[in-house]
């Protein structure tokens, strides 16, 4: 009899232990930590001060007074400062032939090498994360507008000698919100694989995509997009947890490509003369709002506390009732339904908004009832680095760290918009407040600026007057 007791007890203990292990590993796999990240700062000779911009614009012989006026308006309102970085071929005057593979490759190499070298060096330094190239299990590279073969990811594998069985994903054409798509991909990968380290490289290729024509909707891209890039380590390995800076809580992806308006508001195409470029349509703000609303619908219930949710539900309900009553009274009279606003501040402490332009930041700030203090990191990033496409939110995060704003337990929201039309968002919690200023090291003391306007109006304001003559 005792033998039987022993046996059953052993069996019981064993199966319980097995179950416990299973559940623990499952829970562990669900975690996704940001270990470290490095943003790219180009060399000073790639800066684009006002004079140089004017020179570059004048090189294009297709442009007339009308176009100058348009460009002036765009640049003045863009919120971009004098210290953004452009690709070399554009500065040196090679933009007339933008389809050079080599130039594009050089631009990407410069970014990739600088960022990844620093990331691995920091990781290997004492007190660093300790991830060597051989430890990387997943590599995701996202560069929207340039896809050579072999891919840029294979280039990373070659340079840093990653393992043979590394899982490589090279994403392209996913627009400015690609970094969160890469993040989502890694997060999902982690759920089925335990103890992994992922390296994500996010950048944008500007050099081969410079538009050398005179169509307005194509020139917008030239004004806004600037060089930048970011690389970061993610992991779900519990041993690396002490190094974790942030922990991922939610990723929400929205894609409104089903509607024509959203799909065609940002398109890569050729103009009438066959010059390739990137068309940004007039519908873009509306498409962005549309996607943003749908994203919030999923995101808000996940991050907002209960009281705020109840308030929201009540407000929605009463608004509906009121509009119905109104309709009864005056049969579709005024459609000025009172604007519903979400107080996102109740659930999130910091906001990294994609620096797509001053209008994007203003719009998000209005929609989420944010203060100037909340929007300051995004505005300053736009001023300092321009629209660096997918990597922009990481510069914003860098600003917050440099300013010492992040405290343990704080929640950080990243919000990105991209062609397609996509709106992606994610929420992090701070695990370990960072201490170094990273990419903002040399300029952080000068920020925040009171006045983010650029001197274009002073220097080139005469264009406007000439129109009146």
């Amino acid at each position: 009899m005792e033998l039987v007791t022993m046996l059953t007890l052993t069996l019981l203990a064993y199966s319980l232990a097995l179950l416990a292990r299973l559940l623990v590993s499952r829970a562990r796999r669900r975690r996704c930590y940001l270990l470290d990240y490095v943003c790219y700062k180009a060399t000073d000779d790639r800066k684009l001060p006002t004079d140089l911009c004017g020179e570059i614009i004048q090189r294009n012989k297709l442009l007339g007074l009308e176009e100058y006026k348009f460009l002036l308006k765009v640049i003045v309102n863009s919120g971009i400062g004098e210290e953004t970085y452009g690709p070399r071929n554009m500065i040196e005057g090679g933009e007339a032939r933008p389809d050079r593979l080599r130039e594009a490759m050089e631009e990407m190499d410069e970014t990739f090498h600088a960022v990844l070298d620093e990331l691995f060096a920091r990781s290997a330094a004492p007190g660093g994360v300790g991830v060597r190239p051989g430890d990387v299990d997943v590599l995701v590279v996202n560069v929207s507008m340039f896809s050579p073969a072999p891919s840029l990811s294979a280039r990373v594998v070659r340079r840093y000698g990653l393992r043979e069985d590394v899982k490589v994903y090279n994403l392209t054409g996913m627009g400015c919100s690609a970094t969160l798509i890469a993040l989502d991909l890694v997060n999902n990968f982690f759920r089925t694989h335990a103890g992994q380290v992922a390296l994500v490289m996010t950048s944008e290729s500007i050099a081969p995509n410079w538009y050398a024509g005179n169509r307005r909707s194509f020139m917008l891209g030239n004004c806004l997009f600037r060089s930048g890039g970011c690389a970061y380590f993610l992991s779900n390995d519990p041993r690396l947890r002490p190094h974790a800076k942030l922990r991922l809580r939610h990723v929400v992806r929205t894609h409104t490509g089903a509607s024509d308006e959203s799909y065609s508001c940002a398109l890569q195409m050729e103009d009438d003369a066959g010059r390739p470029g990137f068309h940004l349509g007039k519908d873009l703000p509306r498409a962005a709002v549309h996607a943003f609303v749908h994203n919030l619908r999923v995101l808000a219930p996940r991050v907002l506390p209960l009281p705020e949710l109840l308030r929201l539900a009540f407000a929605t309900l009463s608004a509906r009732l009121r509009s119905r009553n109104k309709n009864k009274q005056q049969q579709r009279g005024s459609s000025s339904a009172n604007h519903l606003t979400i107080r996102m501040k109740a659930g999130v402490d910091h906001f990294c908004v994609h620096t797509g332009g001053a209008a994007v930041i203003d719009g998000v700030g209005k929609g989420l009832q944010l203060t100037e203090h909340d929007l300051e990191p995004s505005r300053m990033t736009l001023h300092r680095f321009g629209n660096t496409s997918a990597s922009s939110v990481w510069y914003v995060l860098g600003y917050m760290e440099a300013k010492g704003r992040l405290r343990k337990g704080d929640r950080v929201l990243m919000l990105t918009f991209g062609a397609g039309f996509k709106c992606n968002s994610c929420v992090w919690t701070v695990e370990k407040p960072a201490t170094d200023a990273g990419v903002w090291k040399d300029r952080i003391d000068q920020y925040p600026l009171k006045d983010v306007s650029n001197p274009f109006l002073e220097k080139y304001g005469f264009v406007k007057d000439m129109m009146n003559l």
């Binding site: 072999p150 990653l162 392209t172």
Partner: protein, 583 residues
Amino acid sequence: MALCHLPLPRWSAQCRLRSMTATKGPLAPPTCADNSPPCPDVSLNPPILSRPQDHTLAYLPSEPLSLSLPRTHSLHSATRLGSTRLAARSSMASPGAQQLKQLKPLYQHVVNNFVAVLAAPVAVAAAITAARVGPDELLARLHALRAAHVFLAVFVPAAAATLYLMLRPRSVYLVDYACFRTKPNCRVPFSTFLEHAKLVTFVEGASIDERSVRFMTRLLERSGLGEETCLPPAHHYIPPYRNMEASRAEVELVIFSAIDDLLAKTGISPAAIDILVVNCSLFAPIPSFTDMIIHRYGMRRDVRNVHLSGMGCSAGLISVGLARNLLQVAPRGAHALVVSTETITPNYYVGKERAMLLPNCLFRMGGAALLLSTSRAKARFRLARVVRTLTGAQDSAYRCVFQEEDGEGHRGINLSKDLMTIAGDALKANITAIGPLVLPASEQLLFAMSFIARRVFGGGKFKPYLPDFRTAFEHFCIHAGGRAVIDELQRSLGLSDQDVEASRMALHRFGNTSSSSVWYELAYIEAKGRMRRGDRVWMIGFGSGFKCNSAAWECIAPPRNAEGPWEDSICRYPVDIPEVLKH
């Protein structure tokens, strides 16, 4: 167990070429088993599949192949050698070894069913003991047990097992797939292709010349491509359109027709798709292909979409692997749409660099759409394994397939001369990884023994054992990258002509369709009616980077009808593909 010392075999000296009687060999099922309509070609011209011997063509690398082919044999006498690998080997060996070979099936049965072999005597012994004790005694012993013990012994393990089954990563199934059916108006016979190329030489800005055209002629004659391959409409113009509009038109033609086909086949509505993965190497517009698909089919807002690019010809399997990862964390029963294609339009090369002219001759239009799901209902295949290897850390491997601009600024893809060696290395790494996962115990044991023997007695005495992958798979879909790739794979893995028939025929009918080629091959096997329930399929893809990826599938249900891209041409296949096709 590691298969790490696997050499890319040179062990099979003369036995690689199969005779005309190959179809009568024990391992090669006769063609009459096919359900396809009888085809006069089969009986008249059985496939004499041979490898290129022309050394003037550095780009169809034949060096490692010619090593294995004794100079004394003319092609014809060589083809009359042994009919299968085993037979060929045994003909060289002593009678004792021959007897050993006959024992091999028995050995395989015993080792592969080791548990059954062990369990049977134990069960018999238990039954005898029970019979001797008698039913009353047994009942009495059962009653003596406490209920709590019985509960613990039965329910707890059962509960644990159920939970384990619920929590483990879910299996992923292939519901169905559809390949783009090429249209006759896009067809490029050799003569058309060459005439077009000749005319392009007069186009302003193109530096392609008469010599390049002659070179392409020689390439095409030896490429293994047939007269029915297709190029996108934009390439039929002089000069060929390579702009974005034409490229988008090709994309829309290929992927939308494939997806339409798939949706019609499976009867699923686009709104039910949760995950969308697209791969296309050389063309990545904004908005991406995924956005185009979402826009066209009006998919849901929360569809997870990923567009992979620059991942080469093996990207189809990368997409499948990615879709599996995403499916395993999605709610049960979610659907993933995977689209693999390559856009040829922007990549017509108009320079005269020889290594870059090769893709013009090989790459052809094609695309495939697949629907994956985590629910087994209606599924046709189960995805067993996806194994990826990337040897990009070596410079030669990284540069082996390389997009660049030649001296005159014409963009093209440079295929290196050592492609085959590098592909061989990548394959070695890949089968080292997949071998232990898929091979039956008998092969693994033999390999382990040969490995130990080589370690103990030194490498010179024993040849390393090359596992026979035909024990693990019934069908092989080798990426139809070109004739040399298929030859090399056949040689390395010791496959029969029938095993690689699908690849050769897909190359002949559709050309190198990049990442979708493996799906055309699967369609060929199914159109021939060779797929049976429980059959295992191995897909191997090679691509720039350098990557070698493979996927193992298990058939759950053979196709109900053999419709597909082969619909109109299957009756003409297999065809004889001569070494040099003169016109």
